[in-house]
Every structure is written in C-alpha cells, then in structure tokens.
C-alpha cells in the first residue's frame, strides 16, 4: 500500500467493502452501547455520574448522535445564508 500505483486495486475501491466499513461502525456502536444495557440490570458496570440526567438510558450515545445530526443539518441551513463565491472578497 506504500507505492502509488494506478494499476493496483485497493481494498476500499470495491463498493461492497465500503458497506463492510459501514457495518463495522454499526457493530462498534452496538458494542459500546452494551454497558448501558448491563447497568440496567446492575451487572458489572456502574455509571459514575455528575448530573441526574446522565442516568438516562444510552444518554451519551443518543446525545452524540442527535448533536451530530443536528449540527450538520443546522450547518446545511446556514450554508444557504452564508455561502458566496470563492472569490467573493477579491
């Protein structure tokens, strides 16, 4: 993978491998979500919290997901207002 070589087919060039990456992300998310499920039954994991609302089931996961999507959607709306040509100031 260290040599630039146009002839060479890279693993990521295969569209179905991109699907594999997507599913890998899903699996990782499922894995990190497990401790909150365990803590529902008080097995192994006890969340150390500062605020009461951190006890909401999958608080951090949901907060991360919602904030990220919210950020991108708001930014998309802002782009309509803020975007100009590349040489706007020139």
């Amino acid at each position: 993978m260290s040599k630039p070589d146009d002839e060479k087919k890279y693993w990521l060039d295969e569209p179905k491998n991109i699907d594999k990456v997507f599913y890998a992300v899903l699996v990782l998310c499922a894995l990190v979500a497990v401790p909150d499920v365990l803590s529902l039954f008080n097995i192994l994991y006890h969340k150390h919290i500062e605020f009461e609302f951190e006890n909401i089931f999958e608080f951090y996961s949901l907060y991360g997901l919602v904030c990220y999507v919210g950020l991108v959607l708001i930014a998309k709306k802002l782009r309509k207002v803020l975007m100009r040509d590349e040489d706007y100031y020139d």
Binding site: M1, S2, P4, D5, D6, Y10, L12, D13, V21, F22, V25, L26, L28, C29, V32, A33, P35, D36, Y45, H46, K47, H48, I49, E50, F51, E54, E58, Y60, S61, L62, Y63, G64, L65, C67, Y68, V69, L71, V72, L73, I74, A75, K76, L78, R79, V81, L82, M83, R84, D85, E86, D87, Y88, Y89, D90
Partner: protein
C-alpha cells in the same frame, strides 16, 4: 550562559546568527536553539531573575513558576518540532522571523512584569506577519495586513490598560488582575483579541490559511496559547469567561463543517479548542486551571500534527481544498496515519492526549454545577468529532478518489509528524508525566470505566451519524466557496464606509482647494490688471514727467493747505 537569562532570548539572539550560517550549520543551529532554551528552563528551576529599576518601574525579565513552565516547555517542544518540519525550507527570512516569533512567545510566558510582557507581545505580532507574507501572494499580503492591524491593536490596547493599571495600583507586576474596571477591562480585551474571543476571532481564520506550509504550523502553536496563558495568569475565576468560552466552543464548529479550505477548517477547530481553555480559566478552580494548562499542552501537539499533515498535503498536491482532494491514502499513507492520530487526539479518544486533558475542564464544569455549559461543551465535543475527527482525514485521504497521485511527504515532515504523534499518544497512555508539570497538584483520574465508556459512546455514535448522513447523501458536499463570517462586517460594509468617508474627504478637500485656488487667482488677476505689463502701476515714465508730477502734487498741496487749513490762533 548568563544567570537567569529569559529562555526566550536564546531563540531571539540565536536568530541573529541565522543570516551568517548556511547548509548543515544552519540546520544544527535551528534545532539546537529550542533544546538550549528548554535546558535553560530546567537548569534555572523555579524563581525570578533579572530585576531592574527602569524609570521607576520594577522590571522582572525572568519569572519561572509552574504555570509559566508548562507553557514554556510546550513552546520549546513546538519550536523544535516546527524547525524539523521547516528543515527543507531554504528561505532565510522565514527561519529568522520564525525564531524571533517563537523566542518572543517563550519570552512573554516567562515575563514577570507587564512592560516586558508588552514588548514580547508586540514582537510576536510583528515577527509572525512575515510568516504570512512569506507566501508571496496578493491574498497573503492583504490577509497579513489585516492580521497585523488587529494584532498590533491588541498590543496598543494592552499598553493603554497597563498605563491605567499602573496609575491605579502603582505596580506593573504581572499577576492576578481580575476584572474590576477600565484598566483591567482593556487588558482583558487585549488578551481576548489574541485568544480569538467570538467576534474578535477572524484574524485567525483569515490569516493562518494564507501563510506558508510551514508558517501555519508554527503560527498555530504560539500566539493563541500565549493569550490563554496570560488569561490563566491574570483572570482565573472571572465569571464572564465561562459563557465567552462556551460560545467559542460552539460558534466556530458550524463554519468548520461548511468550510472547504482544510487549513481554514483547522483554524476554526483551533478556535473551538481555545473555547474549552477559556471556560477552564473562567471556572478558575485548581482542577480547571490544571485542565486548561494540560489541554493547551495536548492541543499544541495534536493541532500541530493536523496542521503538519495538511501542510504536507498542500506541499505535495498544491491544493488544500476538500472539494479537490480525496483518495490520498493511496499515495500518502504515512501522512494519513499521522493525520488520523491527530484527529483521534483532538476528538479525545481514550489513549490520546485530548482524552486526558479536556475531561478535566468538563469535570470542573460539572463540579461547579454548570449544567448548560457542560451540555454545550459536550455538544461541541460531538462537533469536534465531525470537523476535525472525521472531515479533515476523510475528505483528504478517502471520500471519492480525486485521481491525484503524489509522493509521500518529505522525510523531515514525517519525522516532525512522528514527534507530535509520539506526544499525542504518549500523553494519552502516560498522563502522569504531563500531570507532573501542572500548576497545581493533580487530582484527576482520567481512566475510569465510566469515563472511557461514555466517551466511546459519544464518539462512536457521532461516527455512526456521519456514516448514516453519508450513506443517505444528506451530508453537505464540499463546495468551492467563501462562507461569510463576522469579518464580513469589516471587509464589506466597514470597508465601504471607509472608502465612502475617503471619497467625502476628497470632495471636501477638492472644494476647499478650489476656493483657495479661486482666491489666489483673483489676487493674481487683480495684480495683473494694475501691475501687469503696460498697466498703470507698472508703466515706466521719463524722469522729467516724474518731476512734473511731483511738482504738480507739491504745488497742489501748498495751495490746498494755504487756502483751507487755518493757522491755529496765536495764544
């Protein structure tokens, strides 16, 4: 070495030798100076040196305490790293000003009084602009001019504040000031400009992306962190800094999502990271100040690493626009790995620098019961995952293949990136080493099961959000564009106003000039009419005619006085 010499002077004096060296000698000099400065810091230990009385002011050239030492240490490391990264550059001016700039930032950190601070403060501004101008483009020239105006203004405001402060207190010692009145307000404003407070921030996003490949890396490490240091020194526990910092964590991330120039994305993300540090200063507890110092340290490492990787891409491909890049993992795989290490570190993945530093500030906010601030910072952390954690590496090295095939980055750049990556991971794995340098006794334990799991949940679900948005083509595409930010106000309406005022002055000036011209012409014309060639008063006459006229006038006067003026009666 001179006893108690401010370590900053080592780089500044060393810079004076640069023009007389070349080749390998210069390379050795450039690398040796930061090492010497770092040695000086730790040989001196803690204390104060260089006391002078100057015009009744107590100057203290060198003061090393734990707060100054951690910033000075990371500045020396960043100088060393920056010099390795710039080793291939043959431009004497860039080497010279870079050393002056880094030296004055280190000097400012170790300044014990505000006059010394002011001198170094201005020196950082004046020297750094040459790193922007070194690009030698029209855009860089203009951006550098705007940068210089704002930076020097910060210095002038600082000087005003220092003078008023001296009148109020009779002291120029640089210690806790606190926001109490006009003097301290001006000082805070000066620090705020360089810390890139909201609406005072655009100089950074404007100028940094226009600097040279190596210049941006060096610029990104010093100016703003110097300002964070001065805030932590003079304004810890100043409440207003908490909302200001929280706004700083959020405001820039929307622009970072939209921006196409990846070095500008990083400048916005730098701004966002400074927000956490400002919040830490505002909370002002031992934990939060420790958090600010630790975050500044870790931040310089991962932010330099990100800027270096994007610099390498710009150096090889000639562009840094996300819309034109993609698929570079095929030709620059090592740079890609370093970029991802930097990206994971800024996003605060466990075992990286950001994880052990940012959490202290987050935790200090929770201890203070600042729910809203805490939630805002957590939101911003998800945002960091987007623009720096994913967007920068993804659109450069993956996304659609742009077809660009280049060589891997030069060896010196890879070594410099390796140096930063080593620190990013080193700090994450052995946080104890960094914690030893902190201004207060470390009490924070980053590696609890809860902290690791909640962080991973936040980050992986943010990543999932990105994957979903890409899969369903909702994620905004990278477009060649300019996004209007606050600088629009001074780059468009204010510029228009300034030009309009200029035109008005021109009109008034022309009008005044016109009237003055008319007056002068009328004087000349009148004179011409009477004294002009052949006119009455300029005519020459013969002497006999002149004598005749004089005799006639005398005769007339004699008759006149004899006939009409009475002799006074004799008394």
């Amino acid at each position: 070495m001179i006893e108690g010499l401010n370590p900053g002077f080592i780089l500044i004096f060393g810079a004076l030798l640069v023009p007389f060296t070349g080749g390998i000698v210069r390379s050795i000099l450039l690398l040796a100076l930061p090492v010497l400065a770092l040695t000086q810091i730790y040989t001196l230990g803690l204390g104060t040196w260089g006391h002078y009385e100057f015009l009744g002011l107590s100057i203290e050239l060198t003061r090393i305490d734990p707060l100054a030492r951690i910033f000075g240490t990371v500045f020396c490391l960043a100088s060393f790293m920056g010099m390795i990264y710039a080793m291939h550059v043959k431009d004497t001016i860039q080497h010279f000003v870079a050393l002056i700039y880094m030296g004055s930032a280190i000097g400012a950190v170790f300044a014990g009084d505000m006059v010394t601070l002011f001198v170094f403060w201005e020196l950082t501004a004046i020297s750094s602009v040459f790193l922007i101008w070194a690009s030698r483009t029209e855009r860089a020239y203009k951006a550098g001019m705007r940068y210089l105006i704002i930076q020097v203004s910060s210095g002038v405001i600082l000087l005003g504040g220092i003078i008023l402060y001296y009148q109020e207190t009779g002291s120029i010692a640089f210690n806790y000031i606190g926001l109490t009145g006009l003097a301290s307000g001006l000082i805070l404003l000066a620090f705020g400009i360089k810390s890139a407070f909201p609406f005072l921030h655009n100089w950074m996003q404007d100028a940094y992306p226009e600097a040279t490949v190596t210049g941006t890396v060096i610029l990104s490490a010093f100016t703003t962190k110097l300002a964070i240091y001065t805030l932590a020194r003079a304004f810890p526990g100043t409440d207003i800094l908490i909302p200001i910092g929280a706004a700083m964590t959020v405001y820039p991330i929307f622009f970072a999502v939209l921006e196409n120039d990846l070095r500008r994305v990083l400048a916005y993300s730098l701004n966002n990271q400074l927000g956490y540090m400002v919040v830490g200063v505002g909370i002002g507890t031992e934990l939060s100040i420790n958090g600010t110092a630790a975050h500044a340290f870790a931040h310089i490492m991962y932010k330099s690493l990100l800027f270096m990787s994007m610099g390498a891409v710009l150096f090889r491909t000639g562009t840094i626009k996300a819309s034109e890049l993609g698929g570079l993992y095929k030709s620059m795989p090592v740079t890609m790995v370093f970029c991802i290490i930097g990206a994971m570190s800024i996003a605060a993945f466990p075992l990286t620098g950001g994880f052990v530093s940012k959490a202290m500030i987050q935790s200090a906010a929770a201890d203070g019961g600042l729910v809203v601030i805490w939630l805002i910072m957590l939101f911003a952390s998800a945002g960091v995952m987007d623009h720096s954690g994913i967007k920068v590496p993804f659109f450069t090295f993956f996304a659609h293949d742009s077809g660009i095939r280049v060589k891997e980055a030069p060896m010196n750049m890879l070594i410099a990136m390796g140096f930063a990556a080593f620190f990013c991971i080193g700090i994450g794995v052995f946080p104890g080493l960094l914690y030893q340098l902190l201004p207060y006794a470390p009490t924070y334990e980053p590696y609890t099961a809860s902290h690791v799991i909640t962080s991973l949940q936040l980050l992986f679900f943010a990543m999932l959000a990105f994957a979903l948005l890409m899969r369903y083509k909702i994620y905004p595409p990278e477009l060649r564009s300019t996004n209007l930010d606050f600088d629009w106000f001074y780059r468009v309406p204010l510029k228009w106003l300034a030009l309009a005022i200029g035109r008005l002055i021109l009109v008034v000036w022309n009008w005044v000039l016109g009237i003055a011209n008319d007056i002068v012409y009328s004087v000349i014309n009148t004179t011409e009419k009477t004294h002009g060639d052949g006119k009455a008063l300029a005519r020459t006459t013969t002497s006999s005619t002149a004598v005749m006229i004089i005799v006639a006038v005398l005769g007339f006067m004699i008759v006149f006085f004899y006939r009409f003026v009475q002799q006074p009666p004799a008394s």
